[in-house]
């Protein structure tokens, strides 16, 4: 199902949580909503689910206006940040709930429901845990129950709010793969919220970056990482060294640093250079290496420029011995934005 969000506004009191949000989600897409805390990710997701209603704008499902349709009528699967499993029901009852509350001829038979629960438990690799209560499960298992409960009603959209937020790094990684697998197996249009850029870039087909209630950029993980359209996106997605300086005549200057800045208007500006875009270059500017340590296949270098600015450089492992004392570096790529 396609989802269109058209200039949606939402205010809490006098504080705008969403302003003029436009977003098109294609059928079967896996989209990440990425942004810092308080940027309106949850509010946008809840608006799509029908748990929150916008002050202005429209939400369309397959071209049909559902802006004020109730959550119960939208056929969305929602996975809550804290899972919101029904504490007093077993895992199987939790998963069956959405089918069990159906009325009349829409309601599947007991056997059908049991079969569906069985299939879903298998899908998320929880076979045999149907009789447990949520309190008897680990965090990762609860997460899987929440996911299969949302999938049980065969939703046309799956919405997940920070699905892995409360889990440790290893479990996060494996559940990420799992979500991708489940998405590919069911083909359901999926939107998930995260403030972890690595998660968004690794998992999603496209990423929408939110800041202070507005969408800054929508694009594939490569696009938002390599061609950030705004200073915010550049600073938020991926590692970046940030420099405040001046643009004059197509060149950015900050201390000894010179960067090409074609097309940026003169005046104060901000430049971002990714750590891996700094390379050793005899024609560059001098920095003092404070520390170079090898991490897996990479060398991470902490250095200081002549004017005291800290600079982070990422190089290959083989280059580690060359980062000693004072070295000269240059930026092979930079993003410059007028202030």
């Amino acid at each position: 199902m396609t989802i269109s969000i058209r200039s949606v506004d939402k205010q809490f009191g006098r504080y705008p949580a969403l302003s003029k949000v436009d977003l098109e989600i294609a059928d079967g897409e896996l989209l990440a909503l990425l942004g810092p805390s308080g940027s309106g990710k949850t509010t946008l997701l809840r608006t799509i689910a029908g748990l929150e209603f916008p002050d202005a704008g429209q939400v369309l499902f397959d071209g049909e206006d559902v802006t004020f349709a109730s959550a119960a009528d939208r056929r969305v699967g929602f996975v809550f940040q804290q899972y919101a499993l029904f504490k007093h029901m077993t895992v199987a009852k939790n998963i069956a709930f959405g089918l069990d509350v159906r009325k009349g001829k829409d309601k599947p038979s007991k056997a059908e429901i049991a079969q569906r629960v069985e299939d879903l438990l298998k899908l998320v690799e929880l076979d045999g845990l149907g009789k447990r209560y949520p309190s008897q499960l680990s965090g990762g298992q609860r997460q899987r129950v929440a996911l299969s409960r949302a999938l049980a009603v065969q939703p046309s959209v799956l919405l997940l709010d920070e699905p892995f937020g409360a889990l440790d790094a290893t479990v996060r990684k494996s559940l990420r793969k799992e979500l991708r697998r489940v998405h590919d197996a069911t083909g359901v249009t999926t939107i998930f919220v995260t403030h972890d850029q690595e998660e968004a870039l690794e998992l999603a087909d496209r990423v929408a970056i939110l800041n202070k209630g507005s969408i800054e950029q929508i694009g594939t993980p490569d696009q938002v990482h390599d061609q950030p359209e705004t200073a915010f996106v550049c600073g938020f997605v991926g590692e970046a060294n940030c420099f405040e300086g001046q643009v004059g005549g197509g060149e950015f200057k900050a201390g000894a640093l010179r960067l090409p800045a074609g097309g940026v208007r003169d005046g104060s500006a901000t430049a971002y250079v990714r750590p891996h875009d700094f390379v050793l270059d005899d024609g560059g500017f001098a920095v003092r290496v404070d520390r170079a340590h090898v991490q897996g296949a990479l060398t991470t270098v902490n250095a200081t420029a002549a004017d005291g600015r800290p600079i982070e450089i990422s190089a290959s492992r083989a280059e580690a011995p060359r980062f000693q004392g004072t070295v000269k570096i240059a930026a092979r790529k930079a993003h410059v934005y007028a202030a």
């Binding site: 748990l51 959550a71 119960a72 919101a84 029904f86 709930f97 509350v101 409960r149």
Partner: protein, 283 residues
Amino acid sequence: MAAASHRRATEDPLWAKVLVIGTVMAFLALVLILPLAAVFAEALRKGLDAALLAINNADALAAVKLTLITAAIAVPFNAAFGLCASWAIAKHDFKGKPLLITLIDLPFSVSPVVAGLIYVLIFGLQGWFGDYLVDNDIKIIFAVPGIVLATVFVTFPFVARELIPLMQEQGTAEEEAAVSMGASGLTTFWRVTAPNVRWGLMYGVLLCNARAMGEFGAVSVVSGHIRGLTNTMPLHVEILYNEYDFVGAFAVAALLCLLAVVTLVLKTALEIVQPGVRGRGGH
């Protein structure tokens, strides 16, 4: 030395603990246990037979029956109301919510005697509806309906007060999950909200029941003290006592105490079974 190092930072020295706990125990013995023991001692002063005889007569049995009937109406009513009110307050936002919360607390802040007088003022012969009620031969004051009304008023807040903080603490996430899976509001209430508060509800019902059976002030005003007809157990105790029938008075009082003890035992059992329900209602 070793013993001292095992002490937790917040733990007081032994003499302080003994002093504090001892004081509390002595106080409880003086104001709670002693009077309770006295009730039973007085009731049994002329032997068990005399006590049983005092209970096993028409007037006393009528009082027991009326007390049980009153509780049987007031408690379910207040349980249903308390459940609705706390659901509305804890899970929904609407105008006038603070007012509703204040109103629920009203019976706690108004003297029970005043509560009784309010009903006399409204339904009594000289009251607002006095003429209408007389014309239609409806008796409320000095009759069972008045007693039930007064009891309902006084025991109004117990269940709601118990459930509101519980429901607020639980938030609305589970309800939202249910709704997003297509459940209607009513289904959500019965299948998600209510089961989550069932222990708290039982606790509130027990407290409500204890008060409903023991209420004196408000009931006294509206009852009219007609023996065998509008006397509840507490009122009957007073009448017997005023007639110097001490064995009778204390025997009925002892029975009332036993009902209260049963309630307390049930309450304690609940707390053991379900440690989370310990009374949080503010009163």
